[in-house]
């Protein structure tokens, strides 16, 4: 099966800093892949690169031709100077009929918000409107970059439940960047741990078997740190985990991708 998006040996530099080094990544139709990693680990950069917004310093990104991407950004700052109703937003960039707009909002559980200003929505409503817009493109892949940031626990759980529902209906691939691994884990086919490079990769079962994972993900945020320190009880891709596990100071924790 041809992958929807494939990155091979991808390195990204911002000036002198190497943000991502030698990343191999593929996602196939219908797959659910979760990317986790600490802040500054290059998760959002990877997403931007996969979409085509970050030029590769090395390696390449291939997207299936004519790939329809439904993208839900981490946060969408609506400048106060820009008036935008929910209805108008759903027609960007492609105009959709009132009927399609109504159906999309109903599907994500926020029917009747058409005339509301985007900037006045609650966090949960806003994410659902973003998802509704993404679904209107009938995407082959849904890319969600920490979509539940700023939502409380019930809203987060409800949002992920909705994603699973949508995925079951449409069978589209889902690429998720998240700190809330404990919520989405069961549905993921693969989990990729990123920290400037791919630290490790595996099924959720393998990853969740790591004791550090259980210890840290029980305590909410910061859990992503756990993953790249877990016991190596599973096989890695060649050279995937080259970091020093004896080092307990995460801020000093240095990975040499070379």
């Amino acid at each position: 099966m041809t992958p929807l998006i494939a990155a091979r040996g991808l390195s990204i530099r911002h000036g002198e800093t190497t943000v991502l080094a030698h990343v191999d990544f593929t996602i196939h139709p219908g797959e659910i892949v979760t990317v986790v990693g600490p802040n500054g680990s290059g998760k959002s950069t990877l997403i931007r690169a996969l979409i085509g917004l970050e030029p590769a310093a090395e390696g390449r990104v291939d997207r299936a031709s004519g790939l329809r991407i439904g993208y839900v950004p981490q946060k969408l700052h609506i400048d106060a100077s820009l008036p935008m109703t929910v209805r108008r937003f759903l027609s960007l960039p492609k105009r959709v009929s009132d009927r399609a707009a109504r159906a999309a909002l109903a599907r994500t559980g926020v029917e009747g918000l058409e005339m509301r200003q985007l900037a006045r929505l609650s966090g949960g409503q806003f994410q659902r409107v973003l998802l509704a817009r993404a679904l209107l493109a009938e995407p082959q892949i849904l890319i969600l970059d920490e979509p539940t940031q700023g939502l409380d626990q019930p809203a987060t759980a409800a949002f992920y439940h909705l994603i699973e529902e949508v995925r079951a209906q449409t069978d589209c691939a889902v690429l998720l960047v998240s700190h809330d691994l404990h919520v989405v884990m069961s549905a993921s086919d693969r989990v990729i741990c990123l920290n400037g490079h791919v630290c490790c990769e595996g099924t959720p079962k393998v990853v969740s078997a790591a004791p550090e994972y259980r210890a840290l993900f029980g305590h909410g945020t910061g859990g992503a740190f756990a993953l790249y320190r877990h016991e190596h009880d599973h096989d890695h891709e060649a050279g995937a985990c080259a970091h020093d596990h004896g080092d307990h100071d995460h801020h000093e924790h240095h990975h040499d991708p070379a």
Binding site: G52, L53, I69, Y71, L76, I78, R88, L92, P93, Q117
Partner: protein
């Protein structure tokens, strides 16, 4: 040609002999471009960007006189150069506020210095700094309308893409748009607008004509389109009010137009509070 058309045509021609009518038409034509473009300048926080481009136009005026070019060509070339420079810098994470401040004011300073080499221009410099809408000729009128319609056409053509890219670049890219191309379209539109408006409001006040009507329209608009059209309306009303005030009180026309726009903005604040 029927007699009726002949009469209409000749009436129009006679009307165009009136400098005040020409001024009003030039100003209203210009607002067709500054309305929608101004909305984007406000949404994308490009106010200083507009300033830098407009101030560079003075350098363009000086160079046009130096090389015996049409002022419109010289202004367009320099404004475009400045706009492209700023646009490329902004993609590289410089501290834009400072960079734009440096560029905007040095462009103005170099323009004024260059202008001093041409004695004829020195006398007339205030016309380029503050505009001389009452001296608009029929040829100017054609250029202003031509340029404004070109800008308007460009914006209408790219509208959905421009709007999506303005909202969020990742969102635009994921939808298969190219945010850099949309930015380039705006840059081009800005340079063209500066070139055709320098004679009307002058280099120092072009940015005001972009920003103030759009900010006024924001108070009442619920959609981007309503805001852009409102900005055209506010701009046109400001042109008319400014010209009338200028005749009434014998004040300079360009600054009077901007002052009228500012008064409309203040009024709009009151309207919003009641709404």
């Amino acid at each position: 040609m029927t007699t009726a058309t002949t009469i209409t045509m000749s009436t129009i021609m006679t009307l165009l002999d009136d400098f005040l009518i020409r001024a009003a038409l030039a100003g209203i034509g210009l607002t067709l471009a500054t309305g929608p473009l101004g909305a984007f300048v406000v949404w994308r926080r490009m106010a200083y960007f507009g300033d830098a481009t407009a101030h560079a136009a003075i350098l363009g005026v000086a160079l046009s006189f130096g090389f015996g070019l049409s002022v419109y060509i010289g202004t367009l070339a320099v404004a475009l150069g400045m706009a492209l420079t700023v646009a490329s810098l902004s993609g590289r994470g410089h501290a834009m506020d400072t960079v734009l401040g440096v560029l905007a004011h040095s462009a103005l300073a170099f323009g004024l210095v260059a202008a001093s080499f041409f004695s004829g221009l020195r006398v007339d410099l205030s016309a380029w700094l503050f505009g001389d809408i009452l001296a608009v000729s029929r040829a100017d009128l054609a250029i202003v309308w031509g340029g404004a319609l070109a800008v308007l056409g460009l914006m209408l053509w790219r509208w959905q893409g421009l709007l999506t890219a303005t909202l969020n670049e990742e969102l635009a890219q994921a939808s298969g748009l190219n945010p850099r191309r949309e930015r380039l379209a705006l840059t081009l539109a800005l340079a063209l607008t500066v070139a055709v408006s320098i004679k009307i409001v002058g280099a120092l006040l072009i940015a005001a004509l972009l920003i103030i009507p759009a900010a006024t329209a924001r108070q009442l608009a619920r959609t981007p389109e309503a805001m852009a059209m409102g900005a055209v309306g506010c701009g046109a009303a400001s042109v008319m009010a400014g010209l009338l005030a200028s005749m009434q009180f014998d004040t300079p026309a360009g600054p009077s137009i901007v002052a009228a726009a500012a008064c409309l903005f203040v009024l709009s604040l009151g309207v919003r509070r009641r709404a």
